[in-house]
Symmetry: C2
Subunit: 211 residues, 2 copies
Amino acid sequence: MKTILEAMKWRYSTNKFDTNKKLSTEQLTELLEAMTLAPSSYGLQPWKFIVVTNPEVRAKLQAAGYGQEKITEASHLIVFAVEKNIDDKLVDTYIQSVSDTRSVPVENLKGYEDMIKGAIARQTNEQRIEWATRQAYIALGVLVVSAAQMEIDVGPMEGFDPKKFDEILGLEKLGLESKVVAAVGFRSPDDPSIQYRKVRFPKEQVVVEIK
Amino acid sequence: MKTILEAMKWRYSTNKFDTNKKLSTEQLTELLEAMTLAPSSYGLQPWKFIVVTNPEVRAKLQAAGYGQEKITEASHLIVFAVEKNIDDKLVDTYIQSVSDTRSVPVENLKGYEDMIKGAIARQTNEQRIEWATRQAYIALGVLVVSAAQMEIDVGPMEGFDPKKFDEILGLEKLGLESKVVAAVGFRSPDDPSIQYRKVRFPKEQVVVEIK
């Protein structure tokens, strides 16, 4: 198994996928489980992971994604969506889940519940959605590392029309908004990006130590 | 070495750290390198990682962080900051870095440069900062997984006064804003959270498959 650093050096933002290589069910399940285990603010998990394999739907998404080939060519497309309504109902669902998982009466979680509801009440709806979006990016980070360690390629994407994606995927009626997308699969040996050296600012420029 | 899933199940948002256990220089270097290797939009890396070990500074940050013990008790505190000015100058620096790393003349990267500058020009400064912040959360996700696999604990934090953090850390004059914080170290056996079962919505509630 690759170490984290080996995996992070092996990975790159894949643009051209091998159309013949598909993730196994086990690989997909493992990636989704890792993403599900990603941390989020208060543990609220304000995200949904939309896994698109349907080729007709993928073709429509491609048209709404500046024609990027990876949208149709990768083994799987994962759309990270967030809840449009970050409200007391979501908190209630979460608190119930805490209660069930830990066998604690809901009443005993009242302090925690009020704290989360208070934090939500202090934000505008737009701020709440942005807050949820940041959490989804944590899950994206978890996907990238997890996949790399399994020698699975990921091409993250922000270049797409989110409104059209929502429409094509029927997210509006699920109360969701698409925020970021990952093409997941296996690099094609023809991907010209494979030969490019990874570009990173030197550590001295990125890390500030306050000793 | 733990698999990703074992690592993700082992980890939890640590609140109480063992004050006697410190990360080795090698461990810190490895974590920072993994974070540095995190992907970002266009590869721009609009982040800085502020590693705070100074105890006096940590005490001040604790006061600006609702008194959370992990701010002073964890081995290291990492503040994720983003550039306040996401501008052509940042793109120029990045393009120069691409040019140097890949031995490609800057002129040959003009198309890429213009594309990034165009994407930036279409956003308000507030949107740019938010965009940068989302990228920083990818790096946070990378830190969480990387640390877990090395059996290092992380307590991510959004509950702090970012303006005060910026002031205490002198970030303003560096053109930076603090966005999210991670306490990094080793769990104390006394952390009551250790015994709590991890709460996650079942996969069926989080994953939507479009086949």
